[in-house]
Amino acid sequence: MLKRKNRSPEDNCEILLTVKNLTVEYRNREGTIRALHDISFTLSGRQNLGIIGESGSGKTTLALSLLGLIGKPHSVTGSVHLGGKNILVLPEEEKKKLRWSRIALVFQNALEILNPVLTIGEQIGETLHCHRGLTGKALEQELLMLFNLVGLEYFWHRAYPHQLSGGMRQRVLLAMAISCRPEVLVIDEPTSSLDALARKEILAMLKDLQQKMGFAMVIISHDLAVMEELAEDLLVLYSGEVMETGTTTPLIERPLHPYTRGLLNSSIEIHPYKDLWGIPGEAAGEWKADCCVFAGRCTQSLHRCLNEKPSLVDTGAGRLVRCHRGGIVCLLQAEGINKSFSLNGCRIEALKDVNLNLYHGETAALVGATGSGKSTLAHILAGLDSPDSGKVIFDGQPVRGGEAHRRERGIQLVMQDPFSSVSHRLTVFEAIAEPLVINKICPPAIQMKRVREALKAVQMPNEENFLKRYCHALSGGQRQRLAIARALVMKPVLLLADEITSMLDVSTQANLMRLLKGLQYSFGFTMLYITHDLDLARKVSERAIVLHEGEIAEEGSIHQISRHTCCQPSGNLFEAGLHIHQ
């Protein structure tokens, strides 16, 4: 089901490993825990499949079941076909024959993974003896060759595991795994315990060995950089279920499942400048039937997600996603937006054929020089202004007039200047409750409750006397936070933040941005962050939309764009705008 493109013709394309509906349950006195649920994939010659997920997601269980190492009293159903035989149902003696000679496992590096009282030479040599029948001189020759292959001096064969460094131990584990020339190499966290240098060497060595020996690899890791380097395809595991699979590069560039995105957002390799935000909620918990396992941590979950298990659906190009909503929902689509103003008979094209998608839960930065049309676009998206042509679709409905920001769970806009956007003649309560009152959303008693909640969320006092205070008595930072509270009171799913920090001092700006990200993290709204401050944009958002003279010049990962872009306008913009260079 995973297809790899661009495989050169001389590569061995025969399917080596087929896993079908693999389900593993651990049974002990306390009860039954399902560690893997319905996993299927195939692996062909020289293909590298990456398996990624948080700890507890079942990665290691998968590795062990591929070798048929999970036995009674636990239950393993489904099939793991290796060279035409289902290893799960073979008798133990037959399993032993397949292990190491056809499929070998590079264990996660740990001191106790090697037997402490046997020499390295013996531990590598015994597989040569038991599977290949080598003895004496021949065994020694082969051992020498293996040590050379993994870059270890031969005299280490007399050493005991505790005498090796972590990097050397990784080499030993590798030498041990390739000793019987397996067709499939399962590698569990190849680099997790290594320093940067050793890690680079090991990765290069894995590639080199694959060139020489032609095995296929199943790489298990939570390290996305390793995956980018080694794996062509990825399988994202959560609570024992496949959440998403597909080709590595597009999957990392545009994750479809909220969990995958959460993983990416937590990875410093993918977002070197952005603040890291883990996935909210408890880490991968127990597997549950009849619901989406990720629903509890998902910000776009529906009632259905709690009652029905989604199935793995093909979304095209070999990408499969397990989500009732078909992956991360596209919250807002703008198509062919044109807008022009006339000034003394002169037509000024503010926006030219702008197409834009905003996805659930993301933070996109709309960047561009002053006058590039950022605020105009924001106003059109919010429905405050209408485009000359083109349409904006929000949550499946076209945005017309102010409908989208008049309702709950709609769009809210926070503007640049809090002094003009919040009337100084209103009290704090009146200012925040205003949208609720105007739109007749809830009775006054509940209004008070929601205002207090909103104030608490933006970390402002919510006592009686503060609520009665007039807005003109507040500072700039407080008024901007009040403006955010006024937006939050409507429980928006899309927050358009138009230069919200440009009038604030650095400290207030930092506090406000952290606050906003924190709110987004817990409420899960989408944020379009409109700014010309590129350093800040790179800090808070994962995606950049570069606007240049009314047109979208470029769109993509803000990290990629800021590092190297071939687009001239955005190149210039980032060149000039970034104060922090690598």
Binding site: L64, K97, F107, N115, T119, E126, T127
Partner: protein, 338 residues
């Protein structure tokens, strides 16, 4: 290792000193009374006789000088003179020692083999019926005192069934045609005492092996061994048991004292002519020089067993060697300190 040897040396000197001091600070006087063999007639010394003996044995000299002459005697292998048996203590002990050594080594060996075999059986079958029954049985028999086991065996197998001799280490006044026949006779005599001692020890070894192997089986390297598709035998013995036996070495050495104590009792039950029997006889007649000699030899034997275990452990567990190398060599120390 050097520091370890020093520790043994110090322990040895302390033992000698205690051995020297103990009879001298004990209440009573060896010359106050002498019992005849049956303990019926009491023989008392006169003042003159007492003084004569005190100066004869050098007990009137200062304690320091006595101590050094005692040490000097030890260095020459002189353990003193038994004043009841009228024989050199060293030669008496030397005649009896082999029998005790035979009992101890055979019993230790037998209990080790039984403990390891049954212990590994239990560890592989943890939780099964057969294992639970075995566990109960082993715990029960290891709680029965050795002399009681000995008595039961004596009554049932020797006196009752007549399968084994009742006493002694060898059939007296008999000539053996071959060495083999002689060995068989010795084994025949030693069988019950050895069995008694082994039964008392095997339970402990069984529990230790069972638990230690149980722990080893959950280790990561056991999963590695299984993943490698190694034959079951190799996984069990080379990978698992090899690790599980490490604590057994220490345990054996630590139990040496107890097994020596057990041997003393068992030798008396079976009237076996070892050091334990000699000790009993010596206590009976308050033969202090002899007792002192026996204590010393037994203490040294236990100490030697411990030293042997230390050396063996070093051979078996490569981690210990390097830990000691690191502690001994300043170069390594510096490096690890950085």
């Amino acid at each position: 290792m050097k520091s370890r040897l020093l520790e043994y040396l110090i322990t040895f000197i302390v033992i000698i000193t205690i051995n020297f001091a103990l009879p001298r600070i004990m209440p009573g006087d060896p010359f106050l009374q002498l019992y005849s063999a049956g303990g019926e007639t009491t023989v008392s010394y006169t003042e003159e006789q007492k003084e004569y003996f005190i100066s004869y044995y050098g007990l009137d000299r200062p304690a320091g000088i006595q101590y050094f002459s005692y040490l000097g005697g030890l260095l020459k292998g002189d353990l003193g003179f038994s004043y009841y048996f009228k024989d050199s203590v060293a030669s008496m002990i030397f005649r009896r020692l082999p029998w005790t050594l035979l009992l101890i080594t055979a019993a230790t060996g037998l209990s080790l083999v039984t403990g390891v075999l049954l212990g590994s059986f239990a560890a592989w079958r943890r939780g099964q019926r057969s294992e639970q029954a075995l566990y109960l049985f082993m715990v029960t028999i290891s709680e029965i005192p050795a002399f009681l086991v000995g008595l039961v065996l004596l009554v049932l197998l020797a006196a009752g069934a007549g399968l084994f001799p009742l006493a002694g280490a060898i059939t007296h006044f008999s000539r053996f045609n071959t060495t083999w026949a002689q060995i068989l006779d010795i084994l025949h005599h030693a069988a019950l005492p050895v069995l008694t001692l082994a039964v008392a020890r095997a339970g402990g070894f069984f529990l230790l092996v069972r638990n230690s192997l149980g722990t080893v089986l959950t280790r990561d390297y056991m999963r590695t061994a299984r993943a490698k598709g190694l034959p079951e035998k190799r996984i069990r013995y080379r990978h698992a048991l090899r690790n599980a036996l490490l604590p057994l070495v220490t345990r054996t050495a630590m139990q040496m004292g107890a097994i020596v104590g057990g041997a003393v009792l068992v030798e008396n039950v079976f009237a076996y002519p070892g050091l334990g029997r000699l000790m009993y006889e010596a206590v009976f007649v308050r033969d202090y020089p002899l007792l002192q000699g026996i204590f010393l030899v037994l203490a040294v034997a236990v100490l030697a067993a411990n030293l042997l275990a230390d050396i063996l452990y070093r051979k078996l567990d490569p981690r210990i060697v390097s830990a000691f190398k690191a502690a001994d060599s300043p170069a390594v120390k510096n490096r690890s300190g950085n």
